[in-house]
């Protein structure tokens, strides 16, 4: 056995704390260690070639690299070991950066001692490593996209255009998401509906996309290349005969606040969500329909000239198989009534920014809307950057949409006084700072200060804003006709559900967590599952679209070759030791272990494609027959021994 040990300085990150000389001379003394080298950057081309050349020149058969976390560069070095013709699993990494030099820089001597132990742990394990090879598994070209807001639409279109089979699932009766409700988009002021509706229309016309609206993903089992998905398709109660003539709507006796219009108008119980909905078909709002609640009425069915209303429709369970999954489940706007001091819901003239978006659309189109008035105040960071309500994060869009809305208000009526009360004004994106300056030039007043209180005049219903102008250092008390709460984003209810269904990790704010914040921003820890848009965290439309295309590209990267490699670190059973007790069968979360009779003896057998390599069965096995490749009991014990300084000094 000839082991090569390589110690990385990490450009000082390690070498400024750990004594590299001591470490290398310690490593040299260990048995079976043939070569010890150190380098400023082992991950660089020079560092990698050191390993490559040494393996070839000196016939090294095992490699230990003492550097950063294996989660950071493990794969880098495994690839090099493989390139040199060895099994990539004859390799170990000693994490002497994240788990040594960084958290112990106050105690360099103890850190050096720890680094020696960690290198020794690596050596102890690598000696027992088996020559494993990754296995290839076939993978198809089917993708599930969850959520059809702009993120899901973009990902689905990219995948569909690239020739992949897409199943796009949206819980609402139409696609389009929150973007469909916006007036214009900052900083270019494109009309949101005008840029979104062509993309929405592309979805049903794309031959590779199957769209499920009014549907939710109920269950997902299996794994990359083999996901089995159950979709719950709720009844629309209107069949494909519908030509959207609208006669039914005229005869429906129910009037409800229209949620798309934020209650500015009403809708019926049979309705089309909005004028550019896709699919443009009617749907019955079951909980508010008289026929479903009382068994009477049925006007819509009576008047429909195309026999399109079908009260007998039942929820359908649709089973599909996909190879990868993209989650684009979006966000919910912060419930402003949670922020009690602003009196949303009780003060008549305190509204949310989303209501203002709709009011601006109505005003521009000459449709009836509520009175906007002459003095309008925007309050920023409602539900964001607010530890009192538990949302520490910045929602990233509110500064710019308030800038946009205030500017639009000012433009339609320059006599209006528009104030924006902000915590910090964050104009971080391309063209944002210029846009903010333009708004300030049109006369929008930006005042730095968190609003303390809103007081409604019981007679006039006007609202007094109490705030400290923290730049001018003065208290302002000023009366407004309308106060707009710039509400932030929070992880949607749908995001919570899909996170549970897919068992995804969530970040502190509750958004879905990426595999790596910089280098794997749309991957997740679940192989074959990707995230994009506001499900991952608050972001604006350009970032959402960029991320959606990125998620599509990452999914294509996995599927395009038609096969992908699986880790061989699965469980394995020593049939001679196995007593067939089936304890392993009962603990496996994947049904990957079964017992079978072999030579008149009942033994456990592992399906290595189903096994995900948790090792639970190996821990449970009473006879030590079940082992996990690369994490054998003998290896774990040797590592513990080395970590405790038991081995040779």
């Amino acid at each position: 056995m000839k082991i090569g040990v390589y110690v990385c300085h990490c450009g000082g990150n390690i070498s400024e704390v750990v004594d590299i000389k001591q470490l290398t001379s310690f490593a040299e003394k260990q048995s079976d260690v043939a070569i010890v080298r150190d380098n400023a950057h082992m991950c660089s081309d020079v560092g990698r070639n050191l390993v490559l050349e040494d393996i070839k020149k000196h016939n090294l058969d095992r490699i230990v690299v003492a550097a950063c976390s294996p989660q950071f560069h493990g794969k880098t070095f495994m690839d090099i070991v493989k390139k040199a013709g060895l099994s990539p699993y004859l390799f170990e990494m000693a994490n002497i950066r994240e788990q040594c030099s960084w958290p112990h820089f106050d105690e360099p001597e103890l850190a050096t001692r720890k680094a020696k132990d960690l290198v020794n742990v690596g050596i102890a394990k690598v000696k027992l490593d088996e020559s494993l090879e990754r296995k290839s598994m076939p993978i198809g070209k089917r993708v599930l996209v969850v959520g059809a807001g702009i993120a899901g639409i973009q990902a689905a279109l990219d995948l569909g255009d690239a020739g992949f089979e897409v199943f796009l699932v949206e819980k609402k009766p139409t696609i389009g998401g929150k973007m469909a409700q916006l007036s214009r988009t900052f900083p270019t002021e494109d009309c949101a509906a005008c840029i979104l509706s062509p993309k929405m229309a592309d979805v049903p016309s794309n031959p590779n996309i199957t769209l499920f609206t009014n549907s939710e993903v109920e269950k997902v089992s299996g794994f990359i290349g083999n996901f089995e998905v159950t979709i719950n398709k709720k009844p629309r109660y209107v069949n494909d005969n519908c030509v959207s003539c609208g006669i039914c709507e005229e005869k429906c006796p129910v009037k409800l606040p229209n949620e798309f219009e934020q209650g500015l108008t009403t809708r019926r119980a049979i309705y089309v969500p909005f004028e550019f909905a896709v699919p443009y078909k009617y749907v019955i709002d079951e909980p508010n329909c008289i026929y479903f609640q009382k068994g009477k009425c049925g006007n819509c069915k009576k008047v429909c000239p195309h026999d399109a209303v079908d009260f007998e429709q039942k929820p359908e369970k649709i089973e599909i198989k996909v190879d990868t999954i993209i989650v684009a489940s979006g966000y919910d706007i912060f419930d402003a009534s949670e922020k009690k001091v602003y009196g949303f819901g009780t003060n008549e003239n305190v509204i949310t920014s989303l209501e203002m978006e709709r009011m601006i659309v109505h005003e521009a189109e000459g449709r009836p809307t509520r009175k906007i008035g002459n003095r309008i105040a925007f309050i920023q960071c409602v539900g964001s950057r607010d530890e009192q309500i538990g949302n520490e994060y910045c929602s990233r869009i509110c500064c710019m949409y308030a800038t946009k809305l205030s500017q639009l208000l000012k433009r339609t009526d320059p006599k209006r006084d528009v104030y924006v009360f902000y915590t910090d004004l964050r104009a971080y994106g391309k063209g944002f700072e210029e846009y903010y300056k333009r708004a300030a030039r049109t006369g929008v007043k930006f005042i730095r200060g968190r609003v303390a209180e809103l007081i409604e005049d019981p007679e006039t219903k006007k609202v007094t804003v109490k705030v400290e102008d923290t730049l001018a250092r003065q208290i302002i008390e000023s009366e407004f006709d309308l106060v707009v709460l710039s509400v932030g984003m929070q992880p949607g209810e749908g995001t919570g559900k899909i996170a549970e269904v897919l068992r995804m990790t969530r970040s502190p704010g509750g958004f879905l967590q990426e595999a790596h914040p910089k280098f794997k921003p749309v991957d997740t820890l679940n192989d074959g599952v990707f995230i994009c848009g506001c499900a991952q965290g608050p972001k604006d439309i350009p970032d959402t679209v960029a991320q959606a295309s990125a998620a599509a590209a990452r999914a294509i990267r996995l599927m395009n070759k038609g096969e992908y490699e699986v880790e061989p670190i699965t469980a394995v059973v020593d049939e001679d030791l196995c007593s067939g007790c089936a304890t392993c069968v009962s603990v496996c979360p994947y049904d990957a272990v079964k017992t079978e009779v072999k030579d008149d003896k009942r033994v456990a057998k592992v399906n290595e494609f189903l096994c995900q390599g948790c090792g639970s069965c190996s821990a449970a096995c009473p006879s030590g027959a079940s082992q996990q490749h690369w994490f054998m009991s003998s290896q774990l014990k040797a590592m513990v021994g080395a970590a405790l300084g038991e081995e040779e000094e």
Partner: protein, 145 residues
């Protein structure tokens, strides 16, 4: 090395949550007492109670097992198994006259660097008070707490 007064702690961490949590602590430069050594497994459920006993036998003063939070296990139900096994093991330790707090189970997620730091520092302090585990010929009464 034998006479070294420094506490010796083994921390078994799962690859997905707690090992990443330890990395997060390091990346944030959160300073920890250096007396612990991490042994990585893919899942906390790989950590057989026998391995923990083996670590104690080999001179660990205490053994920390860290996994993903309930409901967050990368392998669905692995951490629930760990939870049960550690509870049983602690009962066994009591029978053997070994203070059960020498084995500690914690749920630490990938973003909880701060929690990792706190748990490790606390555990090291606690084990420093308990001192090394003397198995040969030492009266068990000394260990009772």
């Amino acid at each position: 090395m034998k006479s070294n007064p420094d506490p010796k702690i083994i921390a078994f961490c799962c690859n997905w949550c707690s090992y990443a949590g330890a990395d997060a602590a390091g990346t944030s430069r959160l300073q920890m007492k250096p007396h612990f050594r991490i042994v990585r497994a893919m899942c906390s459920s790989r950590i057989d109670p026998e391995l923990i006993l083996d670590a104690l036998k080999k001179g660990a003063w205490g053994v920390l097992v860290a996994g993903c939070h309930p409901g967050d296990c990368h392998y669905v139900t692995g951490n629930y198994r760990t939870h049960k096994r550690i509870a049983l093991l602690k009962d066994l330790l009591k029978e053997l006259g070994i203070a059960p707090q020498r084995v500690r189970l914690e749920w630490i997620s990938a973003n909880e660097g701060g929690k990792f730091q706190k748990v490790v520092n606390e555990f090291i302090d606690e084990m420093s008070v308990l001192g090394p585990l003397e198995l040969k010929g030492q009266p068990a009464a000394k260990e009772a707490s």
